[in-house]
């Protein structure tokens, strides 16, 4: 396999143009941490952007950071953390779930668009990408967006790039919005709720004026063992419903008090603060109970997005039918489902139930033979699928970029 390690945007253009001329599809990688997500690609040439790793500009007062796509995520997070800022959408660290080394790039973070618990309040990667320079499948460098939050000049191509899994263009430089880190965080926990009651409790909390920034539910589980960093919060296998409040200290504490009263019908909530709370939300963000190294490591994992109030009904049904394990986030709107291993990862049941609930499901973790047998990404209705394909082709008419990653069979 040829790996082409590009040094600048010009290199990317040259590689893509040569690839078009040679009809040689390219796999686009940063650190390659998420290569296991999606279908096997029809290529033996890799375009590696990890050397495009400069931090171009960080302007804390403008709330923006401009980075080359290969900039290591960990470095960028430390940089902005030093100014007490963060990516408010809490990008997921997929390494524990996928069992890969902890290493990822900004480009991969955007292309995967996997947002964490705060998505319910702050939006996803797509809401924080302000501008991008990229090379299309025409081999042309183009830019979209800008370096300011408020911008409606031309089509917002940033929205398409976020979550496109490298199938539209090769991003070379991006500008992201950063936000101040909250001074304090408080998490209320309710114990012993079944999924339906937990969904109701989360709905009540998210429908309150208390500005909840995380709402998750870990159902009762025989598999959940002690999770590092959580002490007594979790690990006993009993159901745990958690709600996060962030902001200036007095406010977070005050709202925690008010929310606890609101949630009284669901039980007496206990409170954890700052460091312990942060560890808990990292556990949920990175789906640590399903970690590759853990007892559920061999189980395939689905990421299901659905209308939040339908989460419990959908999840309960799936768990009953498959014997699977679940974690709910986004107030029920995101379900992580680890299902007992089968050759098809229970795809027919998952897709049928998820469609009925008005959601969509992505097979985030599964062995390659399973990914060969079923669709990883959720099949769309024919009209929508056709439009999506026309949109894709408008960036990359010969499917030179990440050919086959999103669509099964395209790799043949």
């Amino acid at each position: 396999m040829d790996t082409l390690k590009v040094r600048d945007a010009k290199d990317v253009e040259e590689v893509v143009r040569a690839a078009i001329a040679n009809e040689q599809p390219l796999e686009i990688i940063g650190h390659g941490s998420k290569r296991g997500i999606g279908h096997a690609m029809a290529t033996n040439a890799v375009l590696d952007v990890s050397a495009l790793n400069a931090i171009t500009a960080y302007e804390p007062n403008e709330l923006i950071v401009t980075l080359q796509a290969g900039a290591p995520l960990a470095d960028v997070l430390s940089l902005i953390d030093a100014k007490n800022q963060q990516f408010a959408f809490e990008p997921m660290n997929t390494a524990p779930l996928l069992g890969t080394p902890v290493s990822a790039t900004i480009g991969g973070m955007i292309a995967a668009g996997l947002a964490g618990p705060r998505r319910i309040k702050a939006g996803g990667a797509r809401d924080h990408l302000l501008g991008a320079h990229a090379v299309s499948g025409f081999g042309d460098s183009f830019k979209t967006g800008g370096k300011v939050v408020k911008n409606v000049t031309g089509y917002d191509l940033c929205k398409l790039l976020a979550g496109s899994w490298g199938t539209l263009s090769v991003m070379t430089e991006v500008t992201l919005k950063v936000m101040p880190k909250p001074e304090a965080e408080r998490t209320l926990s309710l114990r012993g709720l079944d999924d339906a009651a937990a969904n109701k409790a989360m709905t009540a909390a998210l429908g309150s004026p208390f500005d909840v920034s995380g709402a998750a539910h870990l159902p009762k589980s025989a598999f959940r063992t002690r999770i590092e960093g959580l002490g007594d919060i979790a690990g006993q296998g009993e159901a745990l419903t958690v709600l996060r409040l962030e902001g200036i200290t007095a406010s977070a504490a005050h709202r925690a008090g008010s929310l606890r009263e609101l949630l009284a019908p669901f039980g007496t909530a206990t409170l954890v603060e700052d460091t312990v709370s942060a560890a808990l939300w990292t556990t949920i963000r990175d789906v640590l109970p399903f970690a590759a190294a853990g007892v559920l490591g061999p189980w395939p994992v689905w990421r299901i997005v659905c209308p939040p109030a339908s989460g419990a009904a959908l999840g309960t049904l799936l768990a009953r039918e498959t014997g699977g394990e679940l974690i709910y986030d986004w107030g029920g709107g995101l379900i992580w489902a680890a299902l007992p291993p089968t050759p098809d990862a229970h795809a027919p049941a998952v897709r049928e139930r998820v469609n009925a609930a008005g959601g969509h499901a992505t097979l985030i973790r599964a062995a390659e033979d399973i990914r060969r047998a079923i669709d990883v990404f959720h099949p769309q209705a024919p009209g929508l699928a056709a439009l999506s394909e026309r949109v894709r082709a408008s960036f990359d008419p010969t499917t030179i970029l990440n050919r086959g990653r999103l669509t099964r069979g395209a790799a043949a």
Binding site: K150, V152, P180, H360, A381, G383, L387
Partner: protein, 497 residues
């Protein structure tokens, strides 16, 4: 008209009677308007300097009718201009002489309010404010609040990706919509997204939002709603220099405080507003900031104190803090009435809409002052200071020969300066026809070609709202052509591993 629109198709115009009859067969009764007198109401939008009666107006009231109208027009090669409430400030809904004006005004029903999923499903003709009003009894609201919210439609908000004074904290339209039903120019009806936080596949909702009516006609929208903050209080802070006000804005953000709204007015705007609404604005300051904090009372009270300290440290000359809703509303009254207030001191004005990095505010204001001298036209400035969105109001008199041209040249220079300072041509009003010919200031031909290719994926014939956004129109076949660069080179001179 200074802006060139696509040449009218004489063959289409010659068949006008036949086209009107065909449209009447789809949309019966008063839904098709073809009399010159009645069509006059549609000849312009909020950018009133440009007027053009359409060939015919169609006001469907079902998605099926929209689909049939578009399918018919696509089959006959007839251009279509969609229109919501017609409040666009960039000419996005300016009709075409040979085009059908497709008004969505009859789509004014809220279809579903779903508090559990914190979503409202609505037809596009519902006004922005009506959505908030419909959910207010349960303490909810729809966050984006463009100043025309009383009149502007949610469909138009999606088309323009409308903003408002609360964008910095709560985002623009694109951050607050979940899904839609859209009819493509072919007549095909598609559903994108729904009540889930994210859609499957590419984020098509994200690309439709802000597409200025060039990609499809939206017939239903799902928006997310939020709980109203428990309370809101405002500070009104005056500064002897614009630079100090700009520094204050930067330090507030630097301190990790994201106000619900942070507005700035310069001296001419302050004077015009005060003369109009008597809000008690200080008249001896060069810049006035209105800073609103919202959230739980305990948080707002604390942040008010922190902001006051920062303002003092930046050398504020006056600082008033609202102690009641009435007082807070009074602070805002002048700002909210700034446009009509300026309308009282000048026969006409042009409202610009560039965005710059916050830090460039003083530089931008200095440039605007220079340009004001150069063009010999007054300019009052109101800004969404929190997000760097400028609204210079250029004062002119349309009855004086040459003034409109001078005002437009002045405006174009301001927008060029915005780009020069690292900003963009439009923050919330859209490109439309107004900024169309300035697009090359910000984008290369390659950038614009990529955007037009995307347009081709939705509307291969280029019949939907042509003449808007793009300065030069290309045929889709031409844009899609792949230029293969010398087949012989095989990854030259790139390190391999």
């Amino acid at each position: 008209m200074a802006i060139m629109m696509p040449a009218s198709d004489q063959a289409v115009l010659a068949r006008r009677a036949e086209i009107v009859a065909a449209l009447r067969a789809i949309v019966p009764g008063e839904g098709v308007i073809d009399s010159a007198a009645e069509m006059r109401a549609y000849e312009s939008d909020g950018l009133t300097a440009y007027r053009q009666p359409p060939m015919v107006v169609v006001l469907p009231d079902t998605t099926e009718q929209v689909s049939l109208v578009l399918k018919y027009c696509a089959g006959q090669g007839i251009k279509v201009v969609p229109r919501g409430s017609g409040t666009s400030l960039s000419g996005g809904a300016l009709p075409l002489e040979d085009g059908v004006l497709l008004g969505l005004g009859k789509f004014k029903r809220i279809r579903e309010i779903d508090f559990d999923n914190r979503a409202v499903v609505t037809e596009p003709g519902v006004t922005n404010l009506a959505i908030s009003q419909a959910v207010a009894h349960a303490g909810f609201y729809y966050a984006p609040d463009p100043s025309s919210q009383i009149a502007c439609s949610i469909g138009g908000n999606v088309a323009e990706n409308s903003g408002g004074v609360h964008c910095l904290k709560y985002g623009m339209t694109t951050n607050n919509v979940l899904g839609c039903e859209i009819v493509l120019m072919s007549g095909e009806i598609l559903r994108i997204g729904g009540k889930s936080a994210e859609n499957s596949g590419y984020d098509l909702m994200g690309i439709i939002t802000g597409s200025e009516g060039l990609l499809g006609v939206i017939t239903e929208i799902t928006v997310r709603i939020l709980q109203k903050p428990e309370t809101a209080r405002a500070l009104m802070v005056g500064f002897a220099q614009v630079e100090a006000a700009g520094e204050c804005v930067a330090r507030i953000i630097g301190a990790g405080i994201i106000p619900g709204g942070m507005e700035m007015m310069d001296k001419p705007a302050i004077h015009a507003a005060e003369a109009f609404v008597h809000a008690g604005y200080p008249l001896d300051v060069e810049a006035l900031l209105i800073i609103e904090l919202d959230g739980p009372k305990i948080e707002v009270d604390e942040l008010i104190t922190r902001v006051e300290t920062i303002a003092n440290a930046c050398g504020s000359t006056t600082c008033q803090i609202s102690t009641s809703e009435a007082e807070r509303n009074l602070f805002w009254a002048g700002r909210k009435a700034a446009f009509p207030a300026v309308g009282r001191i000048s026969p006409d004005y042009l409202c610009m809409d560039g965005t710059i990095p916050r830090g460039a505010l003083p530089k931008a204001l200095a440039r605007i002052r220079e340009l004001s001298e150069k063009y010999q036209l007054g300019c009052a400035n109101v800004f969404h200071a929190g997000d760097g969105n400028l609204h210079p109001l250029i004062l002119y008199d349309a009855n004086k020969p040459g003034e409109i041209e001078r005002a437009e040249a002045f405006g174009a220079d301001i927008l060029r300066a915005c780009v020069e300072f690292g900003g963009v041509l439009t923050g919330e009003h859209g490109v439309g026809i107004e900024k169309r010919d300035l697009m090359p200031e910000m984008f290369s031909e390659i950038d614009l070609n990529q955007q037009q290719r995307l347009k081709c994926a939705f509307d291969a014939q280029g019949l939907l709202n042509p003449g808007k956004v793009f300065p030069t129109l290309h045929r889709c076949a031409e844009l899609g052509r792949m230029h293969v660069h010398a087949g012989k080179l095989a990854f030259p001179d790139i390190p391999r591993f």
